[in-house]
Each structure stands twice: as C-alpha cells, then as structure tokens.
C-alpha cells in the first residue's frame, strides 16, 4: 500500500496484466509509471531511476525486457509478476525482491485506503529537449476535472463500447481507461496488428466511441479502409495528439455518419486535453474552415490565452504562444525546478500559474483557437511528442561530429511522417548511429535515415541552419520524383 506518494511502474504493452497493474497501483494509492515494452531498456532504466519507482509490475510476455531494465536499475525494487507461475532464475542475485503469482494474496477491496486529491495518479515521461526524458506528475486533482468534463460533455454509459488504441505511455490512454471504467462502459483493446487499420474490428464489435490520433485515420484513408458509411455504430469520434486536417475530418465524417466528431487539444502538462472543438456537419460551414481544423475552446474550469514575445495577451485574430491555466494544469516537471520555472509561469497581470505550451495559435471569434505551429523544435510523429534536440543529442554522442534532426517527410495532410538525421562525413557508419538511436530513443523518435554533410550549414548565429537541411530534403525529393 502506498501513501499517495509511492510510485509503481508498469512494464507492458496493453495486455490485461498491464491494465490490472495500473488499476492495482491506483487502488493501493500508488502513482503508476507506465513503461513501454517497445522502448529500449536503457531508456526505461533511466525512467525507473528518475521516477525512483519502488515497485514494478511486469507481465509474463516482457520478462526478458524487464531483466534488462532491472539490471540497470541500481535501487531496490519490489517486482510483481502477477501472471508468472514462478520467479525466473535470472532474478537471483539482483538487489530486487520478486513476487510471482503464488506469492500474491487475493485482493481485499474492502480494506483499500481512501485516496486524496493530492495523490499522484500517474507519472509520465516525455521527450526532453535537454537530451533526456522529462517526467510530468499528474495528480488526482488534475485528472478528475478532465474526467468530469468528459462525462458531462459526452455522457458515456454502460452501453458504450470504446476503442483502446493508445499505448499506456501516451496520456490519451488515461482517457480510454477511466472514461470507460468510470461509466461502466466496455473498453475494447484493439490488437497491435489491427491498430493501424481497425475497420473490421470496429464494425464487428459495433463500437460506439472512437478515440485516436489523426494519423490512425490517415493510415486508414491511405489503405482505402475508411469509406463512406463504414462506421454507423459510432456515436462519438475524438481526435487528439496532433493537428487534424480538414480533408481527413471530412473523410471520417462520411465514414461515421452518426457520430459527433471533436478535435481535442492538450499537452501532458495540462492533463490529456484542455480544449475541444466540434466539427460542423454542414458542408458550407466546413468549406469556410482552415485546412488545419481549430482546437476550440477550453473545457470548464480551464483557461487559455495567447501571448506575444513581451508576454502581453494578443487580440483575437493575432498570433501568440498559447498558455494554459486551470485545475488540469500540473505543478511542473518531476524533480526539475529549472525546467518548471521556464514553462510554468506567473504573469504580472494575473495570480494564476500558466503553462507555456510552445504552440503558436490565434483566436478566432467563430471557432476558438486555431493551431498554427510551434515556437520551438518539438514535432509530433503519429501523435507522439519528439523534441528534436533529444534526437540530436543522441546522434551527436554517437557520431562525435555535428549532428541534426528534422521531421521528414511531411505527408500530404501536413502531418510529419518520420525523422531524418544528419551527421558530418567523418563520423561512424550509419548503422552505428542508427543503433545508438534505437538503444536510447523510443521507436517513433529513431531517424529513418542518416544523411551525411560535408559542408555543415550554419545560420548567421553560427548554429545549425535547419531550414537549409529541410531545403536539401525537399530538393532530394523533387529530383527523385522528376
């Protein structure tokens, strides 16, 4: 049992044991720390240490991965193996305590401790611009307002059948689990092999609620697995995690003719999603919308503003950096007061703490906020946040030369489809650089290729000119297609 401050990591890949591990951690008043079994052990061990996780739940499919993580975790951890019949031999000699199925007692739900709003709900690690992942502790008092807003807005109920597509390391999975469980609805875990084209799955189970990143819909459209009338059972379709192109939303609206379609927006620092915008069904209204659809207005109890470079709130129609305040905004970065001070700020004209998102927006009187891009070098790959500086730090260490990374290519919907790395010509071979990236970064942040550059492009400040790198890739693409 925890006291609201203990942390229990869960290593898995959306298996039943992983969901049970999360529920069990929370019921025992522990903050859960999801670890993705597809991410390299080196990175997961780093997170175990940063989080100072006291316990780790591992499903039997990932024992080998757990071994590699635990070998690099110096502090003592209670390792729970709820679906393993015995403790593996390799556990002997480790500084950790292992409990397998037979060692675990039956659950005693009547003696569970009462939780507190201050308890940590989950601690997520996301890409960090300094070259290492950074943690964000989301407390019960942050996540409960979101769940209440969702319950009021969409009225989920016991008859609903909801998609579960997100990795548990993606905070949108918190919506999946707790919206469904809180309403007594059914949560349908879509198998990994069908996650990018779940048309048949949705139809067969007559799912009623859909939640994904726009990239999932884009892949379905690319595979011609998104056709008019495909999803009559859906009454709600939510998209979040990256920009929603109008073309894609139109295709989805045709495929799900009975669904309310909403575009949600929010960084992990502000708990899952903080704004929402509803797609109009009228064609003439759709025609007048921008190609990247609006992100709308804040949920109840939350606030948004856009500020200029002087931290002055801009007028409607003017561009500024989006800042967020309200009960969903977390306290800052886990054990990183330096980063927290940079992004969680108080303005002279307001008492509240505002989170600076780094997203450029303008406010439209008609549609609410419209996303315009980033003020920094963060990109989204299939909805996953990647700070390109983190990729560059790994490349630089491995190559020992200049190194850079850009999002490339950009698909026809304006969504980034991958990352390309750059290094000087005198460094180690491409294989070695890519392996170094695979050893340190989640799969979506690993460059798809390395380009070698003789004459490193520098801007007037003597820094890497990323615009020229992008131009090089554009020129390469043009010459290939001509």
């Amino acid at each position: 049992m925890g006291d609201g401050s203990a942390r229990c990591a869960v290593l898995g890949s959306r298996k039943l044991t992983d969901f049970a591990g999360i529920a069990g951690a929370l019921m025992a008043r522990c903050t859960y720390v999801p670890l993705n079994a597809r991410h390299p052990p080196q990175r997961l061990a780093q997170i175990m240490c940063e989080a100072a996780a006291q316990a780790l739940v591992v499903d039997r499919n990932h024992l080998a991965h757990a071994r590699a993580v635990l070998e690099d975790t110096p502090h003592s951890v209670l390792v729970l193996l709820p679906d393993s019949s015995s403790v593996p031999d390799w556990a002997m000699g480790m500084p950790h305590q292992f409990l397998s199925q037979g060692d675990l007692t039956q659950p005693c739900v009547d003696v569970l401790p009462a939780g507190s709003p201050e308890d940590g709900a989950y601690l997520l690690f996301t890409s960090g611009s300094t070259g290492a992942p950074k943690g964000i502790l989301v407390r019960n008092r942050n996540v409960m307002p979101y769940l209440r807003s969702v319950a009021a807005r969409y009225a989920p109920g016991p008859d609903d059948r909801c998609t579960q597509l997100f990795d548990l390391t993606f905070d949108l999975s918190v919506h999946d689990m707790f919206v469904a469980w809180g309403a007594g609805a059914s949560l349908y875990r879509i198998p990994d092999s069908a996650r990018f084209a779940p048309r048949d799955f949705v139809r067969r189970h007559a799912l009623t609620m859909w939640f994904s990143v726009p990239s999932t819909a884009a892949t379905m459209l690319g595979l011609r697995a998104l056709r008019p009338g495909d999803f009559p059972s859906l009454r709600l379709s939510l998209f979040c995690g990256e920009a929603l192109p109008k073309r894609l939303a139109r295709a989805w609206a045709a495929a799900a003719p009975n669904a309310i379609i909403e575009n949600l927006y929010g960084p992990t620092e502000a708990t899952i999603a903080l704004t929402a915008w509803r797609l109009p069904r009228e064609e003439n209204v759709l025609d007048a919308l921008p190609e990247v659809l609006p992100i709308g207005k804040p949920l109840p109890g939350q606030a948004t503003i856009a500020v200029n470079a002087s931290d002055v709130v801009v007028d409607d129609g003017e561009e500024g950096e989006l800042c967020l305040a309200g009960s969903q905004v977390t306290d800052g970065y886990w054990r990183r007061p330096d980063l927290t001070a940079q992004r969680f700020v108080r303005f002279a004209w307001d008492d509240r703490v505002w989170y600076r998102t780094g997203d450029r927006v303008r406010n439209s009187m008609n549609h609410g906020l419209v996303f315009l891009g980033r003020v920094d070098r963060q990109v989204k790959i299939a909805g996953h946040r990647v700070e390109l500086q983190e990729v560059e730090a790994v490349l630089h260490r491995a190559a020992d030369t200049n190194a850079a990374a850009i999002a490339w290519p950009i698909g026809p919907d304006g969504l980034a489809r991958g990352i390309v790395g750059f290094a000087g010509t005198s460094s180690r071979p491409d294989d070695a650089l890519l392996q170094a990236c695979r050893d340190a970064l989640p799969p979506y942040a690993v460059p798809s290729a390395i380009r070698r550059i003789d004459d490193w492009p520098l801007n007037n400040s003597g820094k890497t000119d990323h615009g020229r790198l992008r131009s090089m890739m554009e020129a390469e693409t043009c010459s290939r297609t001509q």
Binding site: P191, F196, P198, D200, T216, T219, P443, S448, A449
Partner: protein, 86 residues
C-alpha cells in the same frame, strides 16, 4: 530474408528489405510468415509505404477488406490482399 517467388511477395519483400537496409537492420531474419508488427520492425507508416510501393510496382491495388489484420501482418497475408488489376 527468405521469401518464395510470387511477384507480389517479391515486391513487398524487396520494399521491406530496402527499409531494413536503410535502417541498418540487415541481420533481421524475416520470412513470408513473420508477423511484422509483433517483431516491431514496421510501424503503420512503414507498412503503408510498403503497400503503396507494391501497388506502384505491380499495378494492383491493395484491398484492406481482404486482409485480416487481427490475425497478424505477414508478407504472405499482405500479398494475398492485392486484387488483380481492373
């Protein structure tokens, strides 16, 4: 990679081999029945690219309805889901 000789299988395996080579993963062993998703070597974008490459190379269209994704994504299953040219 060890792949039998159907033209579509060959196209798909060539596209995958190119991708693995570009990623510096020449040593990954794959046959026509290897589950590409379970092995973690392709993501949705890579899979889409492979399919589009094979469509361009064969003149045949991939029919997503002809593929049972939930049973796993293998080169053989992908090849079988290509329809003959119209």
């Amino acid at each position: 990679m060890t792949i039998d000789n159907s033209p579509l299988l060959r196209l798909l395996s060539d596209a995958l081999a190119q991708r693995l080579h570009r990623d510096g993963r020449n040593t990954v062993r794959i046959d026509a029945d290897t589950d590409l998703i379970e092995l973690g070597i392709v993501d949705s974008q890579a899979l889409l690219d492979m399919i589009l490459d094979a469509e361009a190379g064969s003149g045949q269209l991939f029919d997503a309805e002809g593929m049972d994704f939930e049973s796993g994504v293998t080169l053989r299953r992908l090849a079988a889901a290509f329809a003959a040219p119209a």
